[in-house]
Symmetry: C2
Subunit: 260 residues, 2 copies
C-alpha cells in the first residue's frame, strides 16, 4: 500500500463544488470516475478543502491510498487523457502514510478576480466578478490590511459552516490592479464558510458607499454578520495555493504556485 | 429608418457557429432574441462573416436596419444586460445605408492559439488547440511566410465551401511564442471555408514530420487538398479583427483591435 498525493487545477463553472453530493456532478466524483478507469478500482479520495459551486482552483490537492503500482508520471498522463478538459492533474507524488491532504495543510491562499470595465468580457464569463462600478484597488488594498493577524471571523461566515472555532489568522492580504482586472489575494491558516467571498463583498464599493479605513476593524469587532457586506459571486474565487509542512514532503517543495 | 453597425465579441464554445440554423443555438439567433427584447421588434441582422461551431470572435460586426430611435449607447447597455455572458456588445454606431457588414469588409485577421505545455490548462479548455508536442514557433513563422501574397487556396479549402473564386491575398502572417502559448495570426482580403484551420494543420508538426522551408510553396502549387495537413480544431480559432473601408465610417476608425 502507498499514499499518493495528486496536485490538480480545475475550472469550477460546470461543477457543484468539489465535495461529492447526491444528484449533482462534482469535481471529486469526476476524479473518482477517472481514477476507477485508470487504477481499475474505485478508490476513496480525500481533498484538501471544500470549494463551493462555481469556485475554481489554480492549485488543489487530494490524497488516495492504493495498492496499485502504476508509476506516478504514468498516472498523471493517463488521468489527463481520461478527465474532461476543465480538470487537469498537474503532478503526483508518494507521501508518508501519516500525511493528510486536509489536516497537514499549514496555510492556503485564495485569489479573487474582479473585472471592472463597464463592458463585459465574454472570455472571462464565469471566471471573474463583473463589478459595474470602478474599483479603487489602492483603497481596497489599504482597507484590507485591517484583516491582518488573528481575529474572530464569526461576522465573516455564512450560516451552514460546521466549525465552532471561528478564530483564524491572516498572514498576507493584497489588492492589485492589472489592466481591467483587480486581483485580491489572501493568505491565512484557514478560512470559514464563505469567508473570502464575504471579505470581498465587504471591501467592494456598494452604490455610493465606499469602504473607508477603520471600517473593517469595526466590523471585525462587532462579530456581526449583518455589519459585513454581501457574499460576493463564486465566479471570481480561486483556491490559489495550498501550503503543507515541508517535513512531510520529500523530493522538493510541495508549494508549487500555479496562476492563470 | 437608420442602419446600425454593432461590434461584438463572443466565446463560441456553446454555439453552433454564428449563422442561424434550424435546431441548433447560434450566435445570430441569440443576438436576434436579445434585440427583440430591447428593440420591441424582431429584426433581421447581417453578419460580417460565418464562423464554425466552437470558433470565437475577439471582434465581429453585424448591421441592422431599424426604425427604433434608441440611442446607440443605451442599446449597447441594454443588450449587454440581456445577452448571456459569452456574447458581449462592444460598440454601436450609425452607418450609411449603403454600408454592408459583409460586403464592405476590406480585410480580416484571424488568430489561432496553440497551447503546447504537455499538461492541460483547465482555464483554456475550448479556447486553444492543445498540441501534444512542442511547437517550434520560429520555424512555423518562417514556413508561414510562403503564404504571403496572392495564391489559389483551393488546396486549403474544405469541400462545402460555396465560392468558385479560390484566389485570396495574404497581407501579413506570423507565429509568436508567449510562454506556453503560440499565437498564429493571418491578415488577408478573404478566407475560404476552413482555410485558416487547414493552414494551421499544415504548419504544425505531425509526429516526426516537421514542416520545412519550401513545403508550403509546393503544397500551394499542387492545388491539392490531400497535400495539405489536417483541419485543426475550431477551439483555437478567433476572428480577431475586421477592417472596413474608412470612407464608410464617420466618427473615428472602425478598426478597433480587441485581443484577449
Amino acid at each position: 500500500m502507498r499514499k499518493l498525493l495528486f496536485e490538480i487545477a480545475y475550472k469550477g463553472t460546470n461543477y457543484h463544488g468539489y465535495q461529492v453530493q447526491e444528484n449533482a456532478i462534482t469535481v471529486a466524483e469526476t476524479l473518482q470516475n477517472a481514477i476507477e478507469l485508470v487504477f481499475k478500482k474505485r478508490e476513496d479520495i480525500t481533498g484538501c478543502s471544500r470549494t463551493d459551486t462555481g469556485v475554481h482552483a489554480n492549485q488543489y490537492f487530494f490524497h488516495m491510498v492504493t495498492d496499485n503500482n502504476i508509476p506516478t508520471q504514468a498516472a498523471v498522463k493517463a488521468l489527463n487523457n481520461t478527465l474532461p478538459g476543465d480538470i487537469a492533474v498537474l503532478s503526483c507524488r508518494e507521501v508518508p502514510m501519516d500525511f493528510h491532504a486536509r489536516y497537514s495543510v499549514t496555510a492556503k491562499e485564495y485569489l479573487y478576480k474582479i473585472w471592472d470595465n463597464p463592458l463585459p468580457n465574454p472570455f472571462l464569463d464565469g471566471l471573474v466578478l463583473h463589478a459595474r462600478q470602478t474599483v479603487d484597488a489602492e483603497q481596497m488594498h489599504c482597507c484590507a490590511q485591517e484583516f491582518l493577524g488573528e481575529h474572530d471571523f464569526i461576522g465573516f461566515c455564512s450560516s451552514g459552516g460546521k466549525t465552532h472555532d471561528t478564530i483564524r489568522q491572516i498572514y498576507r492580504i493584497s489588492a492589485e490592479r492589472k489592466g481591467d482586472l483587480v486581483e485580491f489575494r489572501v493568505l491565512g491558516n484557514g478560512f470559514l464558510y464563505n469567508m473570502v467571498r464575504i471579505m470581498v463583498g465587504t471591501l467592494l464599493p456598494c452604490g455610493a458607499k465606499v469602504p473607508q479605513i477603520g471600517d473593517i476593524a469595526k466590523i471585525l469587532a462587532s462579530k456581526d454578520r449583518k455589519m459585513a457586506g454581501i457574499t460576493a459571486s463564486p465566479a471570481g474565487l480561486y483556491l490559489n495555493r495550498v501550503i503543507y509542512d515541508a517535513a512531510f514532503l520529500t523530493g522538493g517543495s510541495c508549494e508549487i504556485k500555479k496562476e492563470s
